[in-house]
């Protein structure tokens, strides 16, 4: 009896080992790809402290100490791109949360689920258009010669505006574009939370004689508070990363607009590809990675404190 048990556990053990081997072999290739394309570039961050030379390579190039950083901090770009990145991202975060929560609540309150689906499909559409195509649309609207907006202005007797030479206008233009592209998908998460909410709360409020507006204001929106706070915190975690595509394409990389539209990501790209200054661009990239990492850790910690279920880990 004892003997057969031993054989059984032995067989179970070797079966488990077989299974583990099969599982390892499954994930070997994806794990290798992550190593090559994600981990090796992390090691490449040493470039920030080097004087990169194509003939010497990533690790063989001579050290430059903190020169790359010094040049960046001494340039007037430092203040400008930091201000633009943080300022515009903060503006986007605020606007998108207000708009997508309002949209989710409105969608939740209409009585027809079928209508909701149609609205959602329409509202998500811009998410599937590239920024290149979006730039064509913006151009059709703002083109100084034929643009729709300038034509309307002229009709009302207002002087046409050369939008691509007017940096002041771009925080607003970019905000509108940002909301246009993201509102549909961002509202899905709030909508899903509302769908999972206990409907007896609303029934109870309505039995007590609350109007629909009162139900929305005092029952539904408080249900979303935690989620809103967490979403805000998580988005703040990414505040040092700008959407390169949006800033590069919509502004058509027009130098005259840099004052309000040049952000960290466009600066890194331009410094690397157009100016060819590997040192400074990798130093700025280094700062973005490290500061971004610290910020993500902090914001995750905070959101976990608020609610165990949220946060990325």
């Amino acid at each position: 009896m004892n003997n057969t048990n031993n054989v059984k556990t032995h067989r179970k053990k070797s079966l488990r080992r077989m299974q583990n081997l099969q599982l390892y072999s499954m994930c070997a290739l994806p794990v290798l790809l992550i190593f090559i394309f994600n981990y090796i570039p992390m090691a490449g961050l040493v470039l920030a402290f080097k004087n990169f030379r194509y003939d010497k390579g990533m690790f063989g190039s001579p050290w430059a100490g903190i020169d790359n950083f010094r040049f960046f901090f001494e340039s007037d770009s430092f203040i400008k791109i930091t201000r633009n990145t943080l300022g515009l991202n903060a503006l986007f975060i605020f606007l998108i949360i207000v708009c997508s929560v309002a949209l989710a609540v409105t969608l939740f309150r209409i009585n027809s689920r079928r209508a909701t689906k149609v609205y959602q499909t329409v509202l998500i559409t811009p998410h599937f258009v590239s920024w290149v195509v979006a730039a064509y649309i913006v151009y059709a609207l703002l083109n100084p010669q034929y643009g729709l907006i300038n034509h309307l202005l002229v009709k009302f007797g207002i002087e046409p505006i050369d939008w691509y030479a007017m940096p002041k206008a771009w925080p607003a233009i970019l905000s509108i574009a940002y909301i246009w592209k993201h509102i549909g998908l961002d509202s899905v998460i709030y909508y899903a939370a509302l769908m999972g909410m206990d409907s007896s709360l609303i029934e109870a409020a309505s039995v007590d004689g609350a109007t629909r507006w009162q139900q929305t204001r005092f029952v539904i929106i408080p249900q979303l508070t935690v989620l809103i706070v967490i979403q805000t915190i998580l988005k703040i975690g990414g505040i040092f990363r700008a959407d390169f595509g949006m800033f590069y394409q919509l502004t058509r990389d027009v130098g005259m607009l840099y004052e309000t539209t040049d952000v960290i990501d466009t600066f890194i790209f331009r410094t690397m590809r157009v100016v060819g200054n590997m040192g400074m661009s990798s130093a700025v990239g280094f700062l973005q990675s490290v500061v971004g990492f610290v910020l993500v850790m902090v914001t995750n910690y905070v959101s976990k404190k608020i609610d165990e279920d949220y946060g990325l880990f």
């Binding site: 994806p30 790809l33 290149v132 730039a135 064509y136 034929y146 990798s282």
Partner: protein, 294 residues
């Protein structure tokens, strides 16, 4: 229970939603109508919401000299398809073992994948790796190999796989099935919503990709559709900025007019927009499942 005021509010909500939907769609309509307008109409009255007269001139122009477009379409379709299949498959292969609590080192692999969401080397090191060490620039592989495994979608799949009742695979184990059989015969067929969602996202990422071409491709016949579209815009900008000089270099007739450019944009964006509503059913479901941490 519904009183008059409630009805009013409901009506108002629909009005607001219809207005918002119209605003979101309006830019597409302007683009479409420009592409169907005559070049002269645009020069005369500018862009408008509805075309004054419909003509196909712009599309005829776009397809008159089709080599660039056909090349770009070929590259984009090939890359999008291969990338979608490979990356969805590889991410599923990684996500499945991560659901197995019996696997040794699972937490380590989990963290290994997860850490790439928190920290990255950024643009410059990746650029040097790809151009100086892997020499992927100016090859079709530069579109496919980097970014095949995206941690975000790996975890989305893992969450979904975890939701599949263990009893289903338990009985297959008893029948002597190995992990590969369980994965292909049980897990994959039961995970259509999440696979459809991830596949759609991957497809659209590649369809809309212009940055890879901009960074890594100099060979004209290897450029993606969106990048060719961007180049058309850039070339025109260049012509506008110093007209007299440019006129000597380029025959003015060869420059696409306003309408032809908009037709190009429609041709480039169209397929993605047509595909998406068919996936929408899975899409919202897949997204909400994945966004809840498992």
């Amino acid at each position: 229970m519904i009183n008059k005021q409630d009805k009013k509010l409901n009506f108002l909500s629909h009005i607001i939603l219809i207005a918002l939907s119209a605003l979101i769609i309006l830019p597409f309509i302007i683009l479409l109508s420009a592409s169907f307008s005559g070049e002269k109409a645009i020069a005369h009255t500018g862009y408008s919401v509805l075309p004054k007269a419909i003509t196909l001139d712009a599309y005829k122009y776009v397809f008159k000299n089709p080599k660039t477009i056909i090349d770009a379409y070929g590259v984009t379709i090939f890359v999008s398809t291969v990338y979608t299949v490979l990356s969805t498959f590889l991410m599923a292969l990684l996500a499945y073992p991560l659901t197995k609590s019996t696997m040794k080192g699972r937490n380590a692999i989990n963290f290994y994948v997860y850490f790439t969401m928190l920290f990255s080397g950024g643009l410059v090191p990746s650029y040097i790796l790809i151009t100086q060490y892997l020499h992927l620039n100016d090859t079709i592989w530069v579109y496919i190999l980097p970014g095949l495994v995206s941690p975000w979608y790996v975890f989305m799949m893992r969450t979904f796989f975890k939701g599949i009742p263990g009893e289903i695979s338990e009985s297959a184990y008893v029948d002597g099935a190995n992990e590969y059989i369980i994965f292909f015969r049980i897990i994959i067929p039961l995970s259509k919503p999440v696979i459809a969602t991830v596949a759609l996202m991957m497809f659209l990422t590649k369809w809309n990709d212009w940055m890879t071409s901009m960074l890594y491709v100099n060979n004209e016949s290897l450029m993606s559709l969106q990048y060719q579209l961007q180049r058309i815009m850039q070339n025109i900008q260049l012509l506008q900025s110093n007209e007299s000089e440019a006129q000597n270099l380029v025959n003015i007739k060869d420059i696409p007019g306003e309408t032809a450019r908009m037709a190009m944009a429609v041709v480039a964006a169209g397929p993605a927009l047509i595909i998406f509503p068919f996936f929408q059913k899975y899409f919202v479901k897949g997204l909400t499942v994945g966004s809840v941490k498992g």
